[in-house]
Symmetry: C2
């Protein structure tokens, strides 16, 4: 496994810069780094320092993580990538996930503990989701709540899908 696709960083860096109307020289000056440095980075060579990345992120006004790990992150084997965003500690417990599914993939999730409910918001793309046998087709912006204590699935057809999922575990303690 290698670094987060150095070339990807370069491309992303460049597209962000151009999108904001900066020239390479300008951005380098504003960020306080040598333009030779920035040039090399955009070409996909090089392995920038935290300090360098940070300065660029500030000037480009991106949340930092966005700069280095563009949306196109490594997917899991099954074409689905899941990231835990946050976890509530109180009762009822709530887990929040960010999720991305490649086209033509199906992900079947095991039932959670009894009483658990899921809530889903589609950020982009199209998705068919819900308890098995009772799925719904969703478009960007749609939300869906469903019983998470039964097997449920996420299925894409010819489009990607990015979504937010939160699971609420009713009942005292489920772990």
């Amino acid at each position: 496994m290698d670094t987060p696709s150095l070339s990807t960083l370069g491309q992303h860096l460049q597209s962000l810069r151009k999108a904001q109307g900066w020239s390479l020289s300008q951005l380098a000056a504003a960020a306080g780094i040598a333009k030779s440095n920035l040039s090399r980075l955009e070409q996909g060579n090089g392995n920038p320092t935290l300090d360098t990345i940070w300065r660029l992120a500030v000037q480009l006004k991106v949340p930092f993580g966005t700069l280095v790990a563009p949306i196109a992150v490594p997917l899991g084997e099954d074409g689905v990538e899941v990231r835990l965003i946050d976890q509530g500690k109180e009762s009822p417990q709530v887990d929040a996930y960010w999720m991305r599914c490649a086209p033509f993939t199906t992900r079947v999730a095991e039932p959670h503990t009894p009483g658990a409910r899921g809530s889903l918001t589609l950020i982009s793309g199209h998705l068919e989701a819900g308890p098995e046998g009772d799925t719904r087709r969703l478009a960007a912006g749609d939300t869906l709540t469903f019983a998470a204590d039964r097997a449920h699935c996420y299925r894409t057809s010819d489009d990607w899908a990015t979504l937010l999922v939160s699971v609420v575990y009713h009942g005292e303690s489920h772990r």
Copy 2:
């Protein structure tokens, strides 16, 4: 302006490592970096390379940005912290936010573009939220959808609140 508090990175790095039961030597070996390197980083000195950060993030299983900008990020002046999780690029456009409010704070959000709708899931704590004059009290796990093209607010009383918010901009292009 200086780098993202190198010392903060160090502390966070160390707490993450210990939380997962790694020893410094183990983690360094697993990540494929010299332990002298990791040691120096945890002490707050040094300015790690993207490659180094990446390898550590992978082993610690954190979304990378989390490593350098820890969860307990500085709250805004108003006691509210907001993080952009993701942005859809298609139509309708959808923005996804993670948000955390300190006790006894009120955040009033400007109306978004006409037709915009908001969707909210409370991850932990208690919160009163919604369009002004039509707010609802929410507990962990509750969800709420509301018209986002009117001024709306988020208010906590004696408890913290962590939530997921997504905004759907209906209409062709709103920017």
